[in-house]
């Protein structure tokens, strides 16, 4: 092979090798930890404890990364329909409380108010209260919550 042709091929090979660096660069640029929420079903109560009609608050607990986390949800029974409301205010995430006299959910932080169907009636919240999925299996009620955890 002529020397000049040989050198040209060597140079081309060299540039080809340099171009291979694109693979580790893509790996580097791609975020290494992508957190995604997964839906977990957490035991809430027995089916017998559910309200016959109206609204009731239920506490729940679960373990996440060696920590016990407590929370609560509201469950509304209406005709034969069950609805679970998350207590997180859709404005800035404070916990709302049910006021049984005014028949409203009230958020103490900025005065957001929701009616018994979770719809906004006053204050800054942009959306109605979030409804959570419910699952009833063998007389036990489970609430679906989205979490970052791997397993509970």
């Amino acid at each position: 092979m002529e020397r000049r042709v040989f050198l040209k091929k060597i140079v081309k090979l060299f540039f080809l090798l340099i171009s291979l660096i694109i693979a580790p660069v893509i790996l580097y640029i791609y975020p290494s930890k992508i957190k995604q929420k997964k839906l977990f079903y957490i035991y809430l109560t027995d089916e017998d404890n559910l309200p016959k009609s109206g609204l009731r608050k239920f506490d729940y607990k679960y373990n996440l990364a060696d920590k016990t986390i407590a929370g609560y949800v509201f469950i509304k029974k209406d005709a034969s329909e069950l609805t679970a409301f998350s207590p997180l205010c859709t404005h800035l995430g404070c916990l709302v409380k049910w006021n049984n006299i005014q028949k409203e959910f009230i958020c103490a932080c900025h005065g957001g108010k929701y009616d018994i169907n979770g719809d906004v009636i006053a204050g800054p919240p942009p959306k109605p209260l979030q409804r959570l999925p419910l699952e009833i299996k063998e007389g036990k009620v489970y609430i679906g919550i989205k979490l970052y955890g791997q397993d509970i």
């Binding site: 580790p24 660069v25 790996l27 580097y28 640029i29 791609y30 290494s32 930890k33």
Partner: protein, 215 residues
């Protein structure tokens, strides 16, 4: 060259003006010591490249700089490699600039008409050292902090205006978050741009004057 390059070149016309430079005759019997300049430039390219990648994750703030460096090293995929490339290239960059300067000195390549190129080369070396000094602070650990504390206090020993120069470098009375932001800006914007300009001068003169013949 390849089909794609030819297509671009017919429109961009970049190869013709460079042909005289790329295919010029060089003095006979050049040895590998004549490669030190090119090796330094290769390290500069690696530094620019790995630095651009590091800047995707580095946070130049008082509270998060150290954390982000730890994250690059331990969590980002191949982050340790990119950081290592940047660190070691920086060291080798300086070493090969010195070797290059020694070679130029020994072969008397600084003689007319190449005096200005020697001066530009010395400026490049100073810029490289300044980049090293400012980059050393960026991990924001104890070693970085105290090295900068000592380094900037040297400016304070200049008679009359020393204190003021020190304040200007530190952006305050002592090394703090302001210094970090200052050094970050110098390290990633001012110094590389200035270095690019200097290297252009350097290579332009090499192109015009050619490589000096061996003694």
């Amino acid at each position: 060259m390849g089909k794609i390059f030819d297509w671009i070149d017919r429109r961009f016309e970049i190869s013709a003006p460079h042909r005289r430079f790329l295919q010029r005759p060089v003095p006979p019997d050049l040895d590998y010591t004549y490669c030190f300049g090119g090796i330094s430039f290769t390290y500069f390219l690696i530094l620019v490249f790995s630095g651009l990648l590091l800047s995707l994750y580095y946070v130049p703030s008082e509270n998060n700089a150290y954390k982000s460096v730890l994250m690059i090293t331990n969590e980002v995929t191949l982050g340790w490699l990119i950081r290592g490339m940047h660190k070691w290239s920086a060291t080798l960059f300086i070493i090969f600039i010195i070797l290059h300067a020694v070679r130029v000195f020994i072969s008397k390549a600084y003689r007319p008409p190449r005096e200005l190129n020697w001066i530009v080369g010395a400026a490049t070396f100073i810029t490289a050292m300044a980049s090293g000094f400012t980059g050393y602070l960026l991990p924001w650990d104890q070693k970085a902090y105290w090295a900068t504390e000592v380094g900037t206090s040297m400016a304070g020993t200049i008679p009359f205006i020393g204190e003021n120069i020190m304040y200007a470098i530190r952006g305050g009375a002592e090394v703090n978050g302001n210094t970090l932001v200052r050094f970050y800006s110098l390290h990633v914007l001012y110094l590389p741009l200035f270095m690019g300009l200097l290297l252009w001068f350097h290579f332009h003169m090499i192109k015009r004057q050619g490589i000096s013949e061996k003694l």
